[in-house]
Structure formats: structure tokens, C-alpha cells
């Protein structure tokens, strides 16, 4: 893979690389809520993130990358928990460094598990509401707990909670003040499948109300369910940004796998061997799996091959158009 960043600025209204300086705008004219410009962070001679530039608007954006790629560092830079070694970050048009007032409009769900074990779930979320000077902190806390479905166990001490419950308590404290920008670092860790689904629906619903949701995750099918805007970090650098379908389309140099479902798969396979771009081919039950370097030409050749083989063609399906395939390709 080349070191060039794969960008799809036109494919997605919510993610784009800024041009020069902070414009405060995305290419479609909407306000950018998060702007990152030439940001690097290093510790001694270890570079955590290098020369990141991007801008986000409302909607769900996933921050993807393997362990150690710099995802958590990036999120901490966005919330002012870490300072940039170089470059600048703006959230909602303001610098995040030493700007506590901005936290009225930002929520963070951190990855680390440290909590106050002696507080109950309600006390923990209410503490956040009080520190945000909510007019009715207890009611605000209960409303947030209803969203994450913890209201039935609100009096349970955090030390007696499961990992999934603690995770949801952290989400509740992050959204108790109804922030415009919600940043979540691996928020679904420890949650069971039903809770994961419920949380994904919550994030999607929040994004539909005009909020900016930035989620780091390594569970790709979850990210795929919440939206298609991604930032992919590899070794501290931005490897790709934009709509992952568009990113996939730009990666023309990579062979793609296609499943051809048909009758007489062995005969059809024999004809497909000579199809343009075919790299490999094998038969699986009632289908033929082909790796092709020229997908468009290949798709055109499939009906011809089926006809020549006297077979019925039931379907043609790209096997690596999903986010996981894109991600695997980018990080490798």
C-alpha cells in the first residue's frame, strides 16, 4: 500500500480533509464541528500520531485502526486531555486547550476503566450532571440512565457492576449534559449483544439530531451499522478518510472476490477461467468464488459464461465490499 491517504471528500458530507487553515466549514458549506490540522503527538522519540488533518461535521464517524494506531491518543487530543506536540485542534470553533467552558458542549466516554467504586451508578452520573451545573442534576442523571437502560439498577455501587454496566454508566455520564459533540473510545466493550444493538441505536439516534458522534472501535460490523464515515489510522497516520464504500471503490489495484451463484458451477467456472482479470477461481457448493483484478469487465463476462455453460445464473455478489475488507486492506 502506498503511504498516500485515501480520501473521498465528495463521497461523504461528514468527513473531509481541511484545506489551509481552519475554515470552520465542510466542503458542502455546513459547519465543521471538529477540525484537526497537522496534528502530531510524540513522547520523546516515540511518535503516537503524525500530521493528522481532518474535519468532521454532524453524524456518526468511526475512528478505526489496529491496537497502537493512535486512536485513543487522537481522541484525547480532541478533548484536551493531551496537548498536541505540533498542530492545532478546534472543536465547535474553539481551541480545546485550557478551555473548560467548552466542556459544556463536549462529552467524552473514555476507554479506561477507572471509576469511583464507592459511588452508585446514579451518584456517578449525577456527579457529572452537578459539575455541568445542570438545573436538576438528579433528573438529568436518571434521564441519561434511562437511555443506557441502567435506571433499574441505579443504586448499585459501581464496584458491584459488571463491565458492561460500568461501560454504560460511562456513556451516561458522557451524554448527561446533552453535548453537541460526543466522543467515545471503544464504548461497546463488555456490553452484551443486545446492549450493543441498543447503544448503536442510541448513537445513531443522537447523530440524527444534529450531534457529532466520533466513535473509536475495532468491531467493524458495529461501525458499519452506525454509519459509513470512517477515519482509518495506521501507525499514527491517517490512512483513509471518508465514506468506506467510496474508499473501497478507489482501491482499484486490489483484486476483489466475487461470488457467482449458479447451476452447474463447475462448468461455469471453466468458462470464467478465461474471463478478463481472473486471478484465481474455486467452486464452493452451488457457487463459484473468483478473485478478479478487473471487476467491471468480469461482471460483464459472467452472463456470457453462464450462457456458454448452459447454466442458470442466480446471483453475483461482491465479497469484500464491506468495511472489514477495506480495513484489512488498509492496515496491511
Amino acid at each position: 500500500m502506498s503511504s498516500e491517504i485515501i480520501r473521498t471528500p465528495l463521497a461523504s458530507p461528514a468527513v473531509s480533509s481541511p484545506q489551509t487553515g481552519f475554515t470552520g466549514r465542510l466542503p458542502d458549506g455546513r459547519a465543521a464541528t471538529i477540525e484537526v490540522q497537522n496534528v502530531s503527538k510524540w513522547y520523546g522519540d516515540k511518535v503516537a500520531v503524525s500530521d493528522l488533518s481532518f474535519a468532521l461535521g454532524p453524524g456518526v464517524t468511526a475512528l478505526l485502526g489496529p491496537n497502537g494506531a493512535g486512536k485513543s491518543t487522537t481522541l484525547k487530543l480532541l478533548t484536551g486531555l493531551l496537548r498536541t506536540s505540533r498542530g492545532q485542534v478546534r472543536v465547535l470553533g474553539e481551541s480545546v486547550v485550557n478551555n473548560p467552558k467548552l466542556y459544556r458542549r463536549i462529552g467524552l466516554v473514555p476507554e479506561q476503566e477507572g471509576l469511583y467504586p464507592f459511588l452508585s451508578i446514579l451518584e456517578f452520573v449525577e456527579l457529572a450532571a452537578r459539575l455541568h451545573r445542570m438545573p436538576n442534576p438528579r433528573e438529568a442523571a436518571r434521564a441519561a440512565l434511562r437511555i443506557v437502560e441502567l435506571n433499574d439498577v441505579e443504586d448499585r455501587p459501581l464496584k458491584n457492576c459488571s463491565k458492561g454496566m460500568r461501560q454504560r454508566a460511562k456513556i451516561a455520564q458522557g451524554l448527561v449534559h446533552d453535548p453537541e459533540v460526543l466522543i467515545l473510545d471503544e464504548p461497546l466493550t463488555g456490553a452484551d449483544p443486545r446492549q450493543r444493538l441498543a447503544m448503536m441505536e442510541v448513537f445513531t439516534r443522537l447523530s440524527e439530531t444534529g450531534k457529532t458522534i466520533l466513535i473509536s472501535s475495532h468491531i467493524l460490523y458495529e461501525v458499519e451499522r452506525m454509519g459509513s464515515n470512517v477515519l482509518v489510522l495506521v501507525n499514527g497516520k491517517l490512512a483513509a478518510e471518508g465514506d468506506f464504500h467510496a474508499i473501497r471503490a478507489l482501491m482499484d489495484d486490489r483484486p476483489r472476490r466475487v461470488r457467482v451463484t449458479c447451476s452447474e458451477p463447475r462448468t461455469v467456472a471453466a468458462f470464467l477461467v478465461t474471463a478478463p482479470g481472473t486471478r484465481s477461481i474455486h467452486v464452493e457448493d452451488e457457487s463459484v468464488i473468483v478473485e478478479t483484478a478487473a471487476p467491471l469487465e468480469f461482471y460483464l463476462a459472467v452472463p456470457q459464461a453462464a450462457q456458454s455453460a448452459g447454466a442458470h445464473l442466480y446471483g453475483i455478489e461482491g465479497l469484500d465490499e464491506d468495511l472489514e475488507s477495506v480495513f484489512r486492506y488498509l492496515v496491511n
Partner: protein, 243 residues
């Protein structure tokens, strides 16, 4: 400020920390009891004041403040919970002042109870209100100054704050500062003693260490330690990175 103050008090009051400190602060009470049992009431007030000057002031009081103050912020950094306070729309000084008040309160209550109990047990009711007041005042200002100092140490050295503070208390406040006036100038102890001596009765003064400082000077220096510690801690909290 109140939510952080309450949170910190709850955090400090739980666990074995409180029991350890309570056990430490019971030592002067027990010593006073043993003294009275063996020596009777003769010069018992002098003994109590010597206990304060030679045990409580250089060792127990700073250790109590150290144990609570270093964990008030250092513990939150180590437990990675501090971000639940710093990611809120509140000025950093509010966090520092709330934390300082909480650890100063718990330190003061424990030390003052120990001092009062030691004085009452030691003197068997023959002491004077003035001397008791002098001890309590000195204990109070000492708790404030040491709390501020060790809150800063905990913030600066969250992992080693307790150890560094322990070495400082034993080697500097407990030992080096007694060797010369020059060295003592840079100890908190000297100014707490100055506050004590300024308020003791003339007869009780003989049991205390001679300190050539006025009460006003002592209080000004202790106030400077209190404010300086809080200001530097606020500055440090603004600079700190929570990785």
C-alpha cells in the same frame, strides 16, 4: 465546588487509610496516659507540649496530611478518574480548592481530636484553655500548610508522592530542621512552632523549643505555603496531560 469536596471526603474516608492514621494519632494519647499513670500530674502539661513539639508536629501531623493529601489528586491520577473532574466546565482552581479543603478538613479533624484528647488526658483537667487553644491553633495552621504542600506533591509525583513525602517528613521536618536555624528556616515545622510559642503561657513556653519568630511572621509564612501550594497546583493541573 461542593460535589468535588464531598466526593473527595468520601474517597479519603473510606479504606484502611483512615484506620492507619487513627492508629498513628492514638499514639500521643496513649503516651500521655502512660505518663500520667507513671508520673502523676507533675509537669504533665509540659509533657504534652513536648509531645506536640517532638512527635506530633514533626512526624504525626505531616504524615497525616501526607497520607490524605497525596491521594486526593495523586490517587485520582493513578486510578485514572481525574478526567471525570477535569472534563467539566469548571475552572481548575475550583478542583484544587475543593480537594485542598477536603483533605485539610479530614486531617485537621483527626489531628485536633488527637491533640485535644492528648492534652485532656495528659493534664487530667489541670491545663489551661490558653495552652489548649495554642496547641489547637498550631495544629490547625500546620494541617492547612502541610495539606497544601502534599497536595502539590501528589499532583506532581502521583506514583511516588507518598514515598517522597515520607522521606521529606522523616529527614527534613523530623531531623534536618532540628540541626540548625538556617535549615529550619526552610521547614514548615519552624513556623508552626512559632505559632505555638506565640500563644502559649509563659510557664508552658519552657517546655517548647525556642523559636525566634513572631506569631504574625509564622502565620504569614504558613499562609504563603498554603496559597503558594494551591496556586502552583492549579498551574500544574492546567498543564497536566492525562494519558
Amino acid at each position: 465546588m461542593q460535589p468535588i469536596f464531598t466526593l473527595t471526603l468520601r474517597a479519603l474516608a473510606r479504606s484502611r487509610r483512615l484506620l492507619v492514621v487513627a492508629a498513628l494519632l492514638a499514639v500521643p494519647v496513649l503516651l500521655a496516659l502512660v505518663y500520667v499513670a507513671s508520673e502523676g500530674k507533675s509537669n504533665s502539661e509540659g509533657f504534652v507540649i513536648e509531645l506536640f513539639v517532638n512527635l506530633v508536629l514533626p512526624i504525626l501531623l505531616p504524615l497525616t496530611a501526607l497520607i490524605f493529601a497525596t491521594s486526593a489528586l495523586g490517587g485520582e491520577i493513578e486510578d485514572r478518574t481525574l478526567l471525570y473532574l477535569t472534563l467539566r466546565p469548571i475552572p481548575r482552581w475550583v478542583i484544587i480548592v475543593a480537594k485542598l479543603l477536603a483533605c485539610a478538613l479530614i486531617t485537621t479533624v483527626l489531628v485536633e481530636v488527637s491533640l485535644a484528647a492528648t492534652y485532656l488526658v495528659g493534664t487530667q483537667g489541670s491545663g489551661t484553655t490558653q495552652n489548649l487553644g495554642a496547641l489547637l491553633l498550631a495544629g490547625f495552621v500546620g494541617c492547612l500548610a502541610y495539606s497544601s504542600l502534599f497536595l502539590l506533591v501528589g499532583l506532581w509525583l502521583p506514583r511516588r508522592g507518598l514515598l517522597v513525602g515520607f522521606v521529606y517528613v522523616l529527614l527534613w521536618e523530623g531531623t534536618a530542621s532540628t540541626l540548625s536555624t538556617g535549615l529550619a528556616t526552610f521547614s514548615v515545622r519552624r513556623y508552626v512552632e512559632g505559632t505555638l510559642n506565640a500563644n502559649l503561657t509563659t510557664s508552658a513556653l519552657a517546655s517548647s523549643s525556642p523559636v525566634d519568630l513572631s506569631g504574625t511572621t509564622s502565620l504569614i509564612v504558613l499562609a504563603a505555603v498554603l496559597l503558594g501550594g494551591a496556586l502552583i497546583a492549579t498551574w500544574k493541573l492546567r498543564q497536566i496531560e492525562l494519558a
